[in-house]
């Protein structure tokens, strides 16, 4: 089980085209090319989340051109904050 209060990012290896736009855009720099330097089904050297330090800002989700490659889990309380704002 993942802790809902810890923001994180999930990247599906086979849906990544290795454009590196997410790497460029991530402020804390927590997305990197996979250390094994392996290639996915499509033939790209996909990128991975380092596992910690994601702030849940969502930037990587929007700069990534692929619809399903990146999912960002924000902090749970962000949801409440948003709900309050609305």
């Amino acid at each position: 089980m993942t802790d809902n209060n810890v923001p994180r990012v999930e990247i599906v290896p086979n849906l990544c085209k290795a454009c590196q736009r997410c790497i460029e855009a991530c402020a804390p720099g927590v997305i990197v090319t996979n250390p094994e330097r392996a290639f996915n089904e499509l033939g790209y050297m996909w990128v991975v989340y380092t596992g910690e330090g994601c702030t849940g800002c969502g930037v990587c989700f929007y700069v990534c051109p692929e619809p399903g490659a990146i999912t960002v889990y924000k902090r749970e309380r962000d949801k409440k904050a948003v709900a309050q704002e609305a």
Binding site: P67, R75, A83
Partner: protein, 501 residues
């Protein structure tokens, strides 16, 4: 929207099965291509606004020709550049639907330049996403109307030059001169900030349509790493450093807050109302079938000729309509087109008991000449033994021929005496029918009011018919009670029958 998860939008298909059976959760776009970003923004906006079910996306010709692989909405694929016209047909057919076009710069700014201009100018209540990547991606990196000065492409190998290729086209700026569009904004996809403002613009442009506000246009500066021969990161940089300075990121027009929403409602008309609305039943029932009259009627060919304003064409129509009401076969055919504006016009009318073969009257049995050029043109064509009515108010000369029956009648003067110079044709119809007895005067008088709106004018015209009748009675001695017109060369043919299915 208020979710703590940013994930693939519901408005996308889960698997892109329209593309291929496996490996179908990615797009067909190149790594780093802006189309993917733009697609995500549109899908997210449709999710947020709950409009996917009502949406129809018109995809262009270009790299995004396959947009229907991805979006779980109604999809139409249009010819190159024609998406705004296709969208117009869709939107006008279903005003409640949300119609979006998604077009590249080749599609929108070049080949479809006219279609986008006019959809915008009509203020079609639709949403246009214009993906400006300054190049033709799909066909292999050729120059676009939006390619920058000096830009090397596969068709501008020495760089785009103003002398040869003109200036890069700024479409937002052009469209912003039009009063109709409600919202025009240019944004970019080169960094997170740009994408986030683009996200807002996309959503607003769709919402405007749902709110009935009219034409919304979002230009999106998008990287095409492949066409530009750059890495995705170089391409992002190029958008910022080269494109944005020429294509300013800006809201060019936004009347979203102040425009009144318009929601056209579909209207259904009952069958009877429709019949009326189509002006059908105007002539009423045809008269009781008078067998001896019809049986003994010999085919008669008329030529009415004069200048515009003398009502020669209308005169012919009234005659034909009267014939129709008396159960004859009739046809009327005008000289049409520009030369009518030059002054002379003529109409061929055929009345016959049999279905009419050729409706063209080459050798009339009856010629009506309202002015000199008409008489000059047609005098020689009249069948020997035929009748010529000459408007002697205008034509001073006499006929050169002696083998025809000629009536000189001052039609325009008679009309003028009654205060209606434009009514010479009504006088003519009275005189013609009184002289030939071809059709009852009463039937002519029944038809005349159908084409005139003002009651006064109707009465005046009917008086002119009487004046024509009287003139013949008073001036033509020994008139023939019934002119039997011998069968002409253009005899009628067997019935035109609709084939069995």
């Amino acid at each position: 929207m208020a979710s703590n998860v940013l994930k693939k939008a519901e408005s996308f298909f889960d698997h892109f099965e329209r593309w291929r059976p496996t490996q179908n959760q990615t797009t067909h776009y190149c790594p780093g291509c802006g189309h993917g970003n733009a697609h995500k923004l549109i899908a997210e906006a449709l999710d947020d606004l709950g409009l996917a079910d009502r949406s129809i996306l018109v995809s262009p010709v270009g790299c995004s020709v396959f947009a229907y692989y991805y979006f779980d909405v109604g999809n139409v694929q249009a010819a190159h550049g024609r998406a705004p016209a296709v969208a117009t047909g869709l939107k006008r057919s279903h005003p409640q639907s949300i119609v979006m076009t998604y077009q590249g710069d080749g599609d929108l700014a070049s080949i479809g330049g006219l279609e986008i201009l006019h959809a915008a100018n009509r203020g079609e209540n639709m949403t246009v996403f214009f993906i400006n990547n300054a190049i033709y991606g799909m066909t292999g990196g050729q120059m676009a109307a939006t390619s920058l000065i000096g830009m090397k492409t596969t068709t501008s190998p020495y760089g785009r030059s103003v002398e040869n290729d003109g200036w890069p086209l700024r479409v937002c700026e052009l469209l912003a001169t039009l009063p109709a569009p409600v919202y025009i904004e240019r944004c970019h996809l080169a960094d997170a900030k740009g994408i986030m403002s683009c996200r807002k613009a996309v959503k607003k442009a769709i919402k405007n349509q749902a709110d009935g506000k009219g034409f919304s246009f979002v230009e999106i500066l998008a990287p095409c790493p492949t066409g530009w021969k750059m890495t995705p990161l170089e391409a992002e940089k190029w958008v910022k450093e080269k494109m944005i300075p020429y294509y300013p990121i800006q809201v060019f027009k936004d009347e979203s807050a102040t425009r009144e929403g318009r929601f056209p409602q579909p209207r259904e008309v009952a069958d009877d109302e429709l019949w009326k609305a189509l002006d059908l039943g105007l002539f009423g029932e045809t008269h009781p079938y008078d067998e001896p009259f019809v049986k003994n009627f010999s085919t008669t060919h008329f030529k009415f000729a004069g200048f515009g304003g003398q009502g020669v064409l209308t005169g012919g129509v009234i005659l034909a309509a009267a014939g129709m009401q008396e159960n004859l076969e009739v046809s009327w055919i005008p000289s049409y087109g520009p030369e009518m504006r030059g002054g002379t016009a003529n109409a061929s009318v055929v009345l016959s008991k049999d279905p009419i073969g050729s409706p063209l009257v080459v050798n009339p049995d009856v010629l009506v000449a309202m002015n000199d050029p008409s008489l000059d043109s047609f005098e020689d064509t009249v069948r020997p033994g035929g009748i010529v009515f000459v408007n002697s108010s205008i034509i001073a000369r006499k006929l050169r021929r002696s083998d025809v029956d000629v009536i000189y009648v001052p039609l325009t003067d008679i009309a003028a005496e009654q205060g209606l110079t434009a009514g010479a044709n009504a006088v003519l119809l009275g005189a013609l029918m009184e002289y030939t007895k071809l059709l009852p005067i009463a039937t002519i008088k029944e038809i005349i009011p159908l084409g005139i709106k003002r009651k006064q004018l109707i009465d005046a015209n009917l008086r002119l018919v009487d004046a024509g009748v009287e003139w013949i009675q008073n001036n033509v001695k020994g008139r023939k009670q019934s002119v039997t017109v011998p069968p002409s060369k253009q005899t009628a043919a067997t019935p035109v029958m609709f084939p069995e299915k």
